[in-house]
Amino acid sequence: MEVLAPRDEADLEEAIAAAVAEGSTLAVEGEGSKRGLGHAVAARRRLSMAAMRGVSLYEPAELVLTAGAGTPLREIQGLLDQQGQQLAFEPADYGRILGGLAGRGTIGGAIAVNASGPRRIKAGAARDHLLGFRAVSGRGEPFKSGGRVMKNVTGYDLSKLMAGSHGTLGVMSEMTVKVLPKPETEETVVFAGLGDAAAVALMTAASGLPAEVSGFAHLPDGGGRTGLRLEGPAVSVASRRAALLRHFGGEAGVLAEAASRAFWEAVRDVQPLAGRGEQLWRLSVAPADGAATVARLTERGLPIAGRLYDWAGGLVWLAIETGRHGHAIREGLAGHATCIRAPEEVRAAEPVFHPQPPALAALSRRVKQSFDPKRVLNPGRMGEGL
């Protein structure tokens, strides 16, 4: 497939306007690390944002950073590291679970799929950290929204719409994100041996305590490990750890610094489920319902090859053996189920994204049309008509 690689916004505008004029389509990508997400896109050309890279503004004292959409995340994280700062939404790296390499991906890609990690529950999602952007719409017209300040209600908040739109509305050329200080220290209190229901009950209880836990995950393998992450100054972490242990009693292990980081990186990137089952599903549900949701699906005979709970039970990852199970997973589910990985024939046969009720689906199609009426950008990536 022919690849177009715009160097600047003018190039980008030209590429999209030309696609509109000739009635063709574009598959948008950065480093291609998330090509396997969503429905397969049958586009005439590939639009690579890899050349539109570089950090044009970074002011640590103002907590803002502006970068070209094609800037590799590792480059941004390297810069932030030097100043003791981070992207607090912990962008997940799906490289390995999608069968590719780890450590790849751009800021544009992370925002476009709203890739949020374990800290989402406390610090917000990728969408909460996008302060503003410049983009070219599927009409081939450049536009911007938001700004570089923390608090802004001037006009519609199109940043929210662009985050998670998988490149189907416009192609962001540059974006400004909120960055935050890294905590002074971190550790993870690990409770061993809990079943799913008990683990979710513990996480639910912990989330109602003033312990400011910044990650709640349960890994059922090896008898079960339930991790609660504490971040902040050492004195505060120690005191909150003591409070948690007092509250829950029993035995708990503590993972310090590097071990804690490794634990959460594994949860973030769903490493325990890499290579298990043919398919990987991501369920977003009310946190307290996490274990019950899995129990119900097990009863229905779903061939579950592995599971992992994040967000205090609100994010359930399921590895599934084979077959078509979208309907079974979604029936009666109070939440959203997204197929993250499946063979192309499965992704072609059933919706990757959670089907919407008719009025909402129609509204989503009208929103798509308002940005990209000819369906030039990533057509079908998010489903029929999008």
């Binding site: 690689a5 715009p6 004292a61 719409l161 549900v285 946190p287 109070a334 909402l360 009208r366």
Partner: protein, 497 residues
Amino acid sequence: MSLTMPAPEAAILENRGRLVRRLRAILPEESVIAEETAMRAYECDALTMYRQLPLVVALPETAPQVQEVMALAAEMNVKVVPRGAGTSLSGGSLPLGDGILLAMGKFNRILEIDYGNRCARVQPGVANLAISDAVAGRGFYYAPDPSSQIACSIGGNVGENSGGVHCLKYGLTTNNILGLEIVLMGGEIVRLGGKHLDSGGYDLMGLMTGSEGLLGVITEVTVRLLRKPEAARGLLLAFPTVEAGAACVADIIAAGIVPGGLEMMDGPAIRAAEDFQPCGYPTDAASLLICELDGEPSEVDHMAARVSDIARAAGATTVRASQSEDERLGFWAGRKNAFPAVGAIGPDYLCMDGTIPRGRLAEVLAGMSELAEQHGLRVANVFHAGDGNLHPLILYDANRPGDIEKAETFGADILKLCVAVGGVLTGEHGVGVEKRDLMGEMFTEADLDQQQRVKCAFDPEHRLNPGKVFPTLRRCAELGRMHVRGGALPFPDLPRF
């Protein structure tokens, strides 16, 4: 009044009698207000310089009633202006003479509190503070705290994406809601989100938040509840210059500290507050910071010590850390009184709401002093320093001819200055009618066209709250037209592989 609203349509005015009768068939007698004296209560919101009697006021109390009113409005081609508690500072719910004012005050119930999932489902007319009050007994609260929180409704908060003094650490409304139920102009009910985080699909909940009542009518909100921090301490820091205060804010953030609240007042605001009700502010200071640290007690003490050191290094002349809850509240007393205090010397004031990159603060305040001199008016500043949100309070006298116009022009100049240094027109009060005609300062025509195309996806006839936010209304058919340029593959220079 310098503002032009869309001219009322004669055909709608002629049909008023029939509209009122049809509304009374949908709603109980007392929920349709058509008499002039009773409608006066609705003629303005908190931007009181603009007033307009609505065509009729409708007070639905169920989502199906809202659907029916919307369907009727569509059928009779009548506009609809949604209104919560009427506390908008930007005229977001200013009525239209040919529009139904849809007052949501009867949606006043908390439907469910779910501590296990740390959320509450509430109707849009519930007051912001009422949510926190309802869950306080269990140690929870709803984080965004606009200063009108005792009165403002959660539906209005969603419409305006309201903030407060704790936004840097806890976010705005958009970061603290999980679900919405909305009624579209076509009468459809749509549910967005729920008790779970992050649905797939387009983030229409994020889009709705801050859309100022132009996209849909909110009939239910699911808010996140947070556990109250165990401890909070305040620091009162005074500086001999604005620059030193601003530098201290930057130093605190650069040191990796994100305070729960970080407020700044300039000299005129400090003195106005102290004159209004003495609260121990040093009146010779050029800038005053109130820094609130919250969280686990030992962490709060640790941070308080660090911030005190940073402030001293930045040249603070006063560094006081609260030793009791009373003292902490005392630090806030002057700040919380700042608006009435300025009102007392005004005698009137216009509250502006720009946001700037914090590093440009000293420059913006200096520019503002110059502008004050040019316009012959005084200004006092309170500033959500942590997030760069500036509230200049322009003092004027409504009884002095020409003062209102002068204040408005001065305000517009301040906002233009904010935009010029990389900031924005409004940080939390909304565009409404107040800043509508300044949108071109920040956005190009193409930017605004794209925003209006989004509006067309929700409301193609521009029936919902027209005349707000956008300086010129463009017809959806015109906006949708494609201007195809160039031929096939015209990009000879574009790198390809």
